[in-house]
């Protein structure tokens, strides 16, 4: 069975119609969060740092935080929200009484998570513009990266959500996976200046590292061959995880 785009879009629209009711409240934190980070880390801590990798600390931080926003936007959606729809609201059981198939549900949910990551990422970007941290026109090249970063974290989160039994386990996902990624993926300091030898290779496995490197290169307008590896990582890992998720969705929803 393959994905039916109209059916996947009807799943997407379900989530969109829920979001539309609360978007005014939902969207506010999307603006506050970056402002707080920029003020505390960028401006506060940054005052003690003359430069990092050749730029001001705020300029170093800015592109990475766009990716973090995309990661968070997608992650909330595919963890707590999907778990609630799956377990408490039984929304997918209702969908499966219509001509919607499990593949459509997965596609619709991933698309919605990507949409949320775009909302988060775009809000962040606007705040950065107001702070004067988006060198134009190059910074605009970072915008198309947001959905790809969202896709990667949607795929990772969905696989996790489909495998766990209880909602409590999400705290592990956040404290032992997303938070370390946030802290050690080139966001606050360049890994390659702090790690050496084999550890640098190990660090390449970190999913957030790749969108961060791409976004930073976009802001600086510095293309390199390494970026092909970063982009390839995003595509290949997302694809593999979605294939896995496809089987997991089928197993969870049908028997």
């Amino acid at each position: 069975m393959s994905v039916s785009i109209p059916h996947a879009l009807s799943v997407w629209r379900r989530n969109a119609s829920m979001y539309r009711r609360t978007w005014k409240w939902n969207i506010l934190p999307n603006f506050f969060e970056p402002v707080l980070y920029l003020l505390s880390i960028g401006v506060g801590v940054g005052a003690y740092i003359t430069e990092m990798s050749g730029t001001s600390y705020s300029a170093f931080l800015a592109p990475a935080l766009v990716c973090v926003a995309a990661m968070n936007g997608a992650s909330f959606e595919v963890t707590y929200n999907i778990f609630v729809r799956l377990t408490f609201e039984k929304a997918y059981d209702a969908m499966l009484t219509t001509s919607i198939e499990p593949d459509d549900i997965l596609a619709g949910e991933v698309l919605w998570a990507v949409t949320r990551s775009c909302i988060y990422g775009a809000c962040f970007f606007i705040v950065l513009c107001l702070f004067g941290l988006t060198p134009l026109p190059f910074a605009l090249l970072a915008l198309p990266l947001i959905p790809f970063a969202g896709l990667l974290f949607a795929a990772i989160g969905i696989v996790f959500s489909l495998r766990i039994k209880g909602i409590d386990l999400f705290s592990f996902y956040y404290t032992l996976f997303l938070t370390p990624l946030f802290l050690f993926s080139d966001v606050f300091f360049p890994l390659k200046e702090r790690l050496s030898g084999p550890w640098l290779w190990v660090a390449e496995a970190l999913p957030l590292l790749h969108p961060v490197r791409l976004a930073r290169a976009a802001f600086r307008g510095e293309p390199s061959l390494l970026l092909l590896w970063d982009f390839g990582y995003l595509l290949v890992v997302s694809t593999l995880l979605l294939f896995w998720a496809r089987r997991a969705v089928r197993q969870r929803l049908t028997n």
């Binding site: 069975m1 039916s4 109209p6 059916h7 009807s10 799943v11 629209r13 379900r14 119609s17 829920m18 009711r21 609201e89 039984k90 929304a91 059981d93 209702a94 969908m95 499966l96 009484t97 219509t98 001509s99 919607i100 198939e101 929803l253 049908t254 028997n255």
Partner: protein, 312 residues
Amino acid sequence: MTAETIVEAACVSKRFGSRLAVDRLDLRIPSGVCFGLLGPNGAGKTTTLRMIYGVTRPSSGEILVFGMDIARNPRAVRSRLGVTLQQNVLIEALSPEENLRVFGRYHLLSEPELSRRIGEVIDFLELKSHAKVPVQKLSGGFQRRLAIALSLMNRPELLILDEPTTGLDPAVRLALWSRVRDLRAAGTTTLLTTHYMDEAQRLCDRVAIISGGKVMDEGAPPELIGKHLAPETVEFDCAPEEEPNLLSEPGLSLRRRLRVGKRVMIYLEDATPLIEHVRRHDRGDRRALVVRPTNLEDVFLALTGTSLEGGQ
């Protein structure tokens, strides 16, 4: 298979690990009837329904719906049927109208048809007064009506209702039954599960009595009653040691009888001779006799030795 058969299941079994939930089930549901699966909780009713609309795969056997193999054509089959799940699956924060809109889109309905259908089912289930109230503020009866309304959005040829009135008050049950009758009159084939024998008896043209994943028997309710028991039931308390003495009257045919603890139920074509016999036997000390029409609960008891509510 004839053109009028809507669902045909042939020797369908479903195993979950070591538990056999459905055991070599055969079903044939003709077009335009209201068909009931009657059995206690855990008898395999919901599993059977899930196999019919294709979210549970049979371990063996084949199911044809509208003449199509559900395993191969789930989309085509499901676009022509509607399902009301046992548990209402509603979006609590949204109003009935908005719920219907979301659900209609699952069926790929678009404007203006979408709004037309929403109006149609709101009228049919009398939801108009509460059409814009968030679902979480609606009573259980309204929520159930909305759940049924959702499953009518695609104007289904086959409506599947899993325990449609469990937990509802009598007035709401009566109202829902009358809606189901209206649908049937309009030509919709209905398949429902219930553990209420009165529901099955009032609504269903045919019932299949299910126990332990097996169909014990199938037919029209009066037909099943006639075949296994008799139309009238006399029920009274009678200790086992009293039974040979009281019920050994050669003139009466008392073969069809069941005992549950102290209670004896005797099934007869005509209850009058037995009543007179018991009265004569008791002389002045008249025991309480209940005389009533035989129902599907009795048939279930006769076929399985257990009661519906008490179930396995």
